[in-house]
């Protein structure tokens, strides 16, 4: 037996997880929301997504190969995920060059400048989105409004809403923006109620960044991620739960002045943010207790911005703010070690 044997330290087997598989699962989980966006916004959603992905992957390749003079690691699919998530946070009407600029900021500034995958403190897709939002507020909020008549109610989201917001320098997904402006102008929640169709929110017939519109599709993706053990429930449930509780308290105190909690978690980027953005591995905490604190922070900040801030939507900012706190959370919320609780007596 002169066979050469391979020798290495244990363990000698490896589980099913790989970075590539995890990222692939995130992409699969985004498919339902993608289908909804193509149905609602048509081919333009497809083009923006394709452009964003190609740009993100391209920039990552160029930076790794020519700037860092290293071996590109495109196989792990993380640049594709960033590309899709960036696109999902953009309006489908955004000029092509702004998409590319957003991708450059997301990958170049948000990710590679910190050392690439695993080293970035902030969610790269959100860095790209917030850069665009601050730089091009008009284009970033110029949504095409789906003119869909819901058979169950007569609610149609009128085209003038989006136009209204778009011409205004104040930004934000339409419904949130509209409601915020109306409430600020002295209207009550009852006055705006007929503009809101919850069926449309669940199905995706509302205006907004195109990946965030289909609540049911996003929840389907959430279930997929949970079933594949890509993420745990802690962060999304903490985000949405704290949004619900916080806005619920406000609503109970002044129902005419504050929107109800269901509206809050179904509008804007709440679901997309809670399920897909806040759960980004690199920029979220390492322990479940840390994840809960992080999620609650995101939820509370989001409602604060939505209610009293200058922007109608606060999810992106909330996530980026809490991203910055993650190192502290990781220090403060270490896992509970085995053998430090006093031995239980039988």
């Amino acid at each position: 037996m002169d066979k050469k044997l391979i020798v290495s330290p244990s363990p000698h087997i490896h589980g099913a997880f790989s970075t590539q598989r995890l990222m692939g699962d995130v992409l699969i989980a985004l498919i339902p929301a993608f289908i909804v966006s193509v149905i609602v916004y048509g081919v333009s959603a497809l083009w923006v997504t394709a452009l964003s992905v190609v740009a993100c992957v391209g920039f990552e390749f160029l930076i790794q190969r020519y700037l860092l003079k290293g071996e590109p690691t495109l196989k792990n699919l993380s640049a594709v995920v960033t590309g899709v998530l960036l696109a999902f946070n953009l309006p489908s009407t955004l000029p092509w060059w702004m998409v590319i600029l957003g991708a450059l900021v997301a990958i170049g500034v948000g990710k590679m400048s910190f050392g690439g995958l695993g080293c970035n403190p902030f969610n790269p897709a959100l860095v790209g989105r917030v850069f665009l939002l601050i730089s091009f507020p008009v284009q970033m909020t110029g949504f095409v409004t789906p003119t869909h008549v819901d058979p169950l109610s007569d609610a149609v989201i009128p085209a003038e809403i989006s136009a209204e917001v778009a011409t205004d320098a104040v930004t934000g997904p339409t419904l949130l923006g509209f409601v915020k402006e109306a409430l600020a102008g002295g209207a009550t929640t009852v006055d705006v109620a007929d503009k809101i169709s919850y069926n449309d929110m669940l199905l995706g017939f509302k205006s907004g960044s195109f990946g965030e519109i289909g609540a049911l599709a996003l929840l389907l993706g959430f279930l997929y991620l949970l079933s594949r053990r890509v993420i745990t429930w802690h962060t999304p449930v903490s985000v949405l739960g704290s949004m619900f509780v916080f806005s619920g308290i406000l609503w109970l105190v002044q129902p005419l002045h504050f929107m109800n909690p269901f509206f809050q978690i179904l509008t804007g980027g709440a679901l997309l943010g809670a399920i897909f953005m806040a759960t980004d591995y690199v920029t979220s905490p390492m322990t479940t207790r840390g994840m809960v604190l992080y999620g609650v922070g995101i939820g509370v900040i989001t409602i604060l911005i939505r209610t009293w801030g200058a922007y109608p939507e606060g999810m992106s900012f909330a996530i980026l703010i809490m991203n910055a706190v993650v190192p502290l959370i990781n220090k403060g919320f270490r896992p509970k070690r085995f053998g430090v609780i006093p031995a239980k007596k039988e």
């Binding site: 066979k3 363990p11 087997i13 490896h14 993380s78 695993g118 591995y281």
Partner: protein, 447 residues
């Protein structure tokens, strides 16, 4: 709800492909190579020399200290060398080589199959027999059994926990032993309980061995002191601390020993060896070895004399498959990759696992994506990603402050890491260095 340990762990594919294969005796080798150090602690000291003839069961090396164990001739024949030969990792270690001639056993050993269930010996006498028989932990850690049975002054043993978990994928030696030698195992268990003076005995068995659970439960039904505890399947349940928690709910304190929570853990294989040593006067000269792997033609459980070369076991089970790339002594999670197939089976060899070349090569490591999966699976509640990086950077003070010495080296972190990082490699490195520093601090003269 089945009992189990509370923190982390993984569930790897079990691949217990040899679980239906009854234990078969392995033919005697032509040459037996018997290492003097088959246990943790000081090597045994040879008491035979080249040219001596030995009988099966005869002492050929005596214990080299308290934490040590004597070695007995596993075969009869002529001693051809007392020197050093490469072990399964290729490192030369002191050995005694015996050319096998016939199969002459010492008269004192009872070779009959008669079950002897009564024992009139005092706990002290039983312990002496266990010590003299060269018993070590048969689960793979090979800690001398008599040392574990010596309860330190000030401590008190409340319970004996028998490890029938066999949580490593592939391995089935303990499973078969419990099924085929259940009576003997239980007698061994009672002898161990008597030595410790405990009245409570738990036998922990994972739920993927329902036949063993059923069998031992039935055999011990009339014995109020023995409880068979079915456990949910989760690696590393066979880890001493995890098993104690799974059956008793008690956590061994960080840096502590099982006896700190009143527990002593012994493997089922050890219990069987205790039976043979005490009731049959048979020292530890053979053991059950699982030979398995998805590329192995006849996955088997063999009763093998210590000193038999690993290559003979592989031959016996269908030979070395053309596509095999790695041979592991032990299980796939904590076993040791073998480079020398002429090395012998020792007291701690629980299995020989063959892995195909394709599965034997590690995948290329990427960068840590902070997915926290290693933190989630760590059964000791540590932060493997961090300890690994700290060790890699040589920041041993920080690694020590991160409780790197609590690591039980189960490998769950590296198993689960999606970036394929060799987390445990670096943690082992850091742990060894930290342990070295701790020892140096302890032995340093007080200023």
């Amino acid at each position: 709800m089945l009992k189990g340990f509370s923190k982390g762990g993984i569930h790897a594919p079990e691949y217990k492909i040899s679980e239906k294969a009854a234990i078969e005796p392995m033919p005697l080798p032509e040459i037996a190579v018997v290492p003097l150090c088959q246990h943790i602690g000081a090597p045994a000291v040879a008491v035979v020399k080249k040219g001596d003839t030995v009988q099966v069961g005869q002492v050929i090396a005596t214990a080299g200290g308290f934490v040590s164990a004597p070695v007995h001739a596993p075969v009869s024949g002529t001693v051809t060398a007392v020197d050093a030969l490469p072990d399964n990792g290729g490192v030369r270690r002191p050995t005694i080589t015996i050319r096998v001639e016939g199969d002459q056993w010492l008269e004192s050993i009872d070779r009959s199959e008669t079950l002897i269930s009564t024992c009139d010996l005092s706990p002290k006498e039983i312990l002496e027999k266990i010590t003299a028989a060269g018993l070590v932990g048969m689960g793979g850690a090979t800690f001398p059994t008599h040392v574990k049975l010596a309860v330190p002054p000030g401590k008190h043993a409340e319970m004996l926990i028998i490890n029938g978990v066999e949580c490593e994928p592939f391995l089935t030696a303990d499973h078969r032993l419990m099924l085929e030698r259940g009576e003997e195992v239980l007698i061994g268990v009672r002898l161990l309980a008597r030595v410790l003076g405990v009245s409570k005995v738990y036998i922990g068995i994972e739920n993927n061995k329902p036949d063993a659970i059923e069998h031992l439960s039935r055999l011990s039904a009339q014995d109020p002191q023995i409880t068979v505890v079915p456990l949910r399947v989760r690696y590393p349940q066979g880890g001493e601390k995890q098993l104690i928690e799974a059956v008793s709910g008690r956590q061994v304190p960080s840096g502590g020993l099982p006896i700190d929570v009143g527990a002593v853990v012994q493997n089922v294989g050890t219990a069987f060896a205790v039976y043979e040593a005490v009731q049959k006067n048979k020292p530890l000269i053979e053991r059950i070895v699982t030979v398995t792997g998805r590329c192995v033609e006849h996955p088997s459980n063999l009763r093998v004399r210590i000193g038999t070369p690993l290559s003979a076991l592989i031959e016996r089970c269908g030979g070395m498959p053309a596509d095999a790339g790695k041979v592991i002594s032990g299980g796939p999670m904590m076993g040791r990759a073998v480079s020398n197939l002429e090395a012998p089976v020792t007291k701690g060899t629980s299995g020989i696992l063959l892995i195909r070349e394709r599965g034997a090569v590690r995948k290329e490591a990427g960068s840590c994506i902070k997915c926290a999966k290693c933190v989630t699976v760590c059964p000791m509640g540590l932060e493997p990603y961090r300890l690994s990086t700290l060790s890699k950077l040589g920041r041993f003070e920080d690694a020590e402050a991160g409780y790197i010495t609590d690591c039980i080296e189960c490998g769950s972190c590296a198993y689960t890491c999606p970036a394929m990082l060799p987390l445990l490699d670096y943690i082992r490195l850091g742990k060894a260095e930290v342990m070295r520093r701790v020892r140096a601090r302890k032995s340093a003269p007080k200023a």
